[in-house]
């Protein structure tokens, strides 16, 4: 019994849920675009954590390969996000999300 | 197969007409296609009188079980003749000076096609599809060539018509789902749904507020089609669909419907008395006439039903005549407001003579087509309850009153002298002459038309209308 199995799987579930919620609250509360991006990354990490934990639990390693996919996609998203933020900064020299609320109704 | 020809030909000629741009060319094409269509209808009428029953069936959408199933009975053929004659009158009477005539005549022909399809269809889905299809051309005609307040009128017209057709769709789905045999309780629900759809289209009293504006704003050819044939779709809806799919509902609530129809008769006649515009008077008078026809359809007596069907034809003829005369007056005086008209009789005795004959036809004067229909319908109502006959009879008196008021306001009196000279073109003289002669002719020899719509044609209807 490796050390890993001694911790019941529900705890990993709870941990990743907590991390996910923190990320979500970060996205809701922070007004700066960069911090929102960071919180999204945190949510992704929570998911990766959950996957790794349960792949160990089920002795099935396909979940870990899934984690690699998630990393790749997260990287792509961040790249695109940063491009969008840079264009925003060029336009209004501020990446505060409140300034970008003109499309409404 | 001729039935398919009758239904598809107007659509084809409509598509061709969309591409024509010259005024003369498009009117010539419209005239040609209308007469061909008339010939086709009369030929199929001849076939019907030989064979007794025409039907054609082609699969269209298997998955939904919809196939193009057209079957024609006596009264449907009568309506098809109607919807061949009225567009012919509309096209003949329309002067060719108008914006993009090609699409104008195309829409008219399209509407004719939709009506032909509706009258000939023997399948509930097709009935609904053609029911909605007939709304579109009238909407576009109203939008393209309507009067000043056409936007508001168009919106009201569409909202009412489509609300009606949604009710029809709901009823139709219910019947479809329960596979044709609707439970007793279900028939009440289906009846109410169908009744709403039909009451909006006829129109009956509470659902009629679209009618006066639409009649006033559309140009005369569309008004002829809407007043002449589209309103008969509602009545046909009663005959074809309600009496078949919700007979219990119809029997149970026939008194209530007749009561509503009589309210719309009295309401229509009394309001026609105080209208200030030529076409609005026609609108309210046809509201009254349609109410009488609907009431006698529900009377359940075969005379009443036959009288109502005959009256559909004669009312269409009278309304077309009235609107044509209104158009002639509008073209020469530029106005249809009763206050500004007057003294046309001294300018054109022929027009006033025709106008008088058409008025007599529409108020049910003996020796005109109106009388035969009105007597039979009042007889039908009498056999339900004498009080109904008396109340409906009031419409004869009120009818005489507002029609004579119309005649007097338009024709008699001095009239303002600056009205231009009134000479009718040859096509108008011939057309109006034909209308006058046919009104009196149908009045004196109605028997050939009445034989056309004998109740025997109802019998073989049960087999055909299920999917």
């Amino acid at each position: 019994m490796t050390y890993l199995e001694t911790i019941p799987s529900e705890w990993y579930l709870i941990l990743s849920a907590i991390v996910f919620c923190i990320g979500l609250c970060g996205v809701l509360i922070r007004r700066n675009a960069m911090s929102v991006l960071m919180c999204i990354e945190m949510m992704l990490n929570a998911v990766m954590l959950l996957l790794v934990a349960f792949s160990g639990y089920y002795r099935d390693f396909s979940a870990q390969i899934a984690v690699f996919f998630i990393m790749i996609v997260a990287a792509a998203e961040v790249a695109v996000g940063l491009v969008i933020f840079s264009m925003m900064f060029k336009k209004t020299s501020s990446i505060d999300l409140d300034d970008w609320g003109h499309l409404k109704g | 197969m001729i039935l398919l020809g009758v239904i598809l030909f107007p659509f084809l000629s409509a598509i061709v007409s969309f591409f024509l741009h010259s005024e003369k060319g498009s009117k010539a094409w419209a005239l040609l296609s209308v007469f061909i269509e008339g010939f086709l209808v009369f030929f199929s009428a001849y076939l019907y009188s030989q064979a007794g029953y025409l039907s054609v069936e082609i699969p269209w959408i298997q998955t939904l079980g919809i196939h193009l199933h057209f079957g024609v009975r006596g009264f449907e053929l009568w309506m098809m003749i109607l919807s061949a004659v009225v567009p012919a009158m509309a096209v003949v009477s329309s002067s060719s000076k108008r914006a993009n005539p090609g699409s104008y005549y195309g829409l008219l022909l399209g509407m004719q096609g939709a009506l032909m399809g509706l009258f000939a269809c023997a399948n509930l889905f097709l009935f609904y599809i053609f029911w909605e299809l007939s709304i579109l051309p009238s909407f576009f005609l109203l939008m393209g060539w309507g009067g000043l307040r056409k936007e508001k009128t168009a919106v009201t017209y569409v909202v009412y018509s489509l609300a009606g057709s949604f009710a029809l769709l709901a009823g139709l789905l219910y019947v479809f789902m329960s596979g044709g045999q609707v439970s007793v309780y279900g028939q009440m629900g289906v009846f109410i749904l169908f009744f709403i759809a039909v009451a909006i289209k006829i129109p009956l009293w509470p659902f009629h507020s679209w009618q006066p504006d639409t009649y006033e704003q559309t140009d005369h050819a569309t008004t002829m089609m809407v007043a002449g044939v589209l309103s008969k779709m509602g009545l046909l809806g009663i005959l074809k669909v309600m009496l078949l799919f919700a007979p219990l509902g119809a029997v149970f609530s026939s008194d209530k419907v007749i009561g509503l129809a009589i309210v719309s008769i009295l309401y229509g006649s009394s309001l026609a008395l105080v209208q200030g515009h030529f076409k609005r008077v026609i609108a309210y008078s046809s509201l009254a006439h349609m109410g009488l026809m609907a009431a006698s359809l529900f009377s359940g007596t075969s005379e009443g039903i036959q009288g109502s069907i005959f009256q559909m034809g004669s009312h269409a003829l009278n309304v077309v005549g009235l609107i044509w005369i209104g158009h002639i007056i509008y073209e020469r005086t530029g106005t249809l407001k009763l206050a500004e008209l007057g003294g046309i009789r001294s300018r054109s005795p022929f027009l006033s003579a025709v106008f008088l004959v058409v008025i007599l036809g529409s108020i049910g004067f003996p020796l005109t087509n109106g009388f035969v229909g009105e007597t039979l319908m009042l007889f039908g109502l009498y056999s339900v309850h004498p009080l109904f006959a008396i109340l409906a009879g009031l419409s004869l008196v009120l009818g005489a009153w507002y029609m004579m008021r119309l005649f007097q306001a338009v024709m008699l009196g001095k009239g303002n002298s600056n009205l231009p000279e009134f000479n009718l073109t040859w096509s108008e003289r011939i057309g109006l002459g034909v209308i006058m002669v046919s009104i009196v002719g149908m009045g004196i020899f109605p028997q050939p038309f009445l034989d056309f719509v004998t109740p025997s044609s109802f019998k073989e209807s049960d087999s055909s209308c299920t999917q």
């Binding site: 099935d60 792509a76 996000g81 969008i84 | 709901a170």
Partner: protein, 445 residues
């Protein structure tokens, strides 16, 4: 896999476009590529592996997406050459091709990870395309919102997938029945993630802003493609999940989506926002089909998706033609169109009528199928709500049809470039084809 491979190669060619010598040839090559991609399905037809499953659903939905992108590529090509002189807009086309590849993948997955990848492949090019009009502030704001909300939604989807994996131990849907609470929570979150793409109510907030902000050329294609792909994915997902888990929630979402979509659409002035909300309403109608999933519901979703796509493409093509001749995309831009260009008005009226569901246009049959489905499922309350929504829908659609016929601001006729004319003609042919032979699309399943 052949179709996705072909599309990726095409995308790469597109990106290297300005270097390679195929200036004039690029559009025919793309269209040829799409045709080949669709043919590709037949070689490997029923391929079921642990990661992908190319079956009938993916072939049909894939076909519709290829047709959508084909038409949009033509109109974009026409718009591009009209705007920038002779240089065809390579990058835009390349991104569109990549997004279509994502779309194809979205209906051809069996492993949940592949579904996530497909969503990302579809979304990321869209974030860029939406923001492609750098000079307009609204386009940047739209892509920002789309990016943020898209990222959050994919996180939610992932979290759902992880929970599902935690609950059932496998990434294949339907293999194991998710008894556990965690598993069903995972299922719900996954459905939520995909519903975001479809524009269903709780997740609809991005739709109006992005449709208004994005360049019109892209909006039409995006609206059609994303909705068809999302509902394709939903059909596959929902087909293999037990109704009891998600039944109630989806019905609630469907009703909310319909009513909110219609109610808000009635109040809109700008054309694109109105069409965005009507798109939401259509998503609501399509959701109705999943209550419960029967053998006809797949046909209904497919036909509804196809007719909605056709209608939306038609409508947005007309809007961007109008914008091209210098008019703002508000309802008044339509005034007097009838006098200025008849074919464009015909396309406009046909597409709007098809969206409104007036017979004999395909929209009507789609509506009929949905209604028959609801009636069969005996939800009489739902039937009445649907009818009211259709009536409100008819009201604002017919208002759209009113404007071309009322007084016109300018009299000069609307000019179309060659390729745009081709695009309009193809759309008209497809609409009339769907009118005369709905059988073709209906009898597939």
């Amino acid at each position: 896999m052949y179709s996705i491979i072909i599309l990726t190669v095409l995308g790469i060619i597109g990106m290297l476009g300005d270097m390679l010598p195929l200036k004039r040839l690029f559009l025919p090559v793309t269209l040829l590529g799409f045709a080949l991609a669709w043919l590709g399905y037949f070689f490997e037809f029923p391929m079921h592996t642990s990661l992908f499953s190319f079956d009938l659903i993916s072939m049909c939905f894939g076909g519709v997406m290829l047709v959508i992108t084909g038409i949009s590529v033509i109109t974009v090509y026409g718009y591009g050459s009209f705007k920038h002189g002779s240089e065809p807009p390579y990058t835009v086309l390349a991104l569109m091709i990549f997004a279509t590849a994502g779309g194809l993948l979205m209906v051809a997955w069996s492993h949940l990870m592949m579904l996530f990848l497909a969503i990302e492949i579809l979304s990321i090019p869209l974030y860029v395309l939406v923001g492609s009009q750098g000079d307009r502030k609204a386009s940047q704001e739209a892509s920002l919102k789309y990016f943020l909300l898209g990222a959050v939604a994919s996180c939610i989807f992932l979290f759902g997938m992880a929970l599902y994996y935690a609950g059932t131990g496998s990434f294949l849907l339907g293999a194991v029945h998710p008894h556990s609470l965690v598993g069903s929570a995972g299922v719900l979150l996954m459905i939520a993630g995909v519903c975001f793409k479809a524009g269903v109510v709780p997740f609809h907030s991005w739709v109006p802003d992005v449709y208004e902000g994005a360049p019109t050329v892209i909006t039409g294609w995006m609206a059609a493609l994303v909705k068809v792909a999302a509902f394709g994915a939903l059909t596959k997902m929902v087909g293999s999940l037990s109704y009891s888990v998600w039944g109630l929630e989806v019905m609630g979402m469907a009703v909310l989506t319909m009513t909110l979509g219609n109610v808000l659409a009635v109040q809109q002035g700008s054309l694109k926002r109105l069409l965005a909300y009507s798109g939401i309403a259509h998503a609501g109608y399509m959701l109705l089909v999943f209550l419960p999933v029967t053998e006809t519901s797949i046909t209904t979703v497919f036909f509804y998706g196809a007719s909605y796509a056709l209608g939306t493409l038609g409508v947005f093509t007309v809007i961007h033609i109008l914008e091209q001749s210098g008019l703002s995309a508000t309802v008044d831009a339509l005034r007097g169109l009838f006098k200025r260009n008849k074919t464009v008005t015909l396309l406009w009226c046909l597409s709007v009528l098809s969206l409104a569901g007036i017979p004999p246009l395909p929209g009507f049959f789609a509506k009929l199928l949905v209604l028959m489905h609801v009636v069969k499922a005996h939800h009489s309350g739902l039937l009445w709500v649907t009818f009211l929504n259709f009536l409100v829908g008819v009201y604002y659609y017919f208002r759209l049809i009113l404007y071309p016929f009322t007084g016109g601001l300018s009299e000069e006729s609307v000019v179309l470039s060659v390729w745009q004319k081709v695009g309009v003609v193809i759309l008209l042919i497809l609409t009339w084809g769907a009118v005369l032979f709905p059988e073709f699309l209906l009898s597939v399943f």
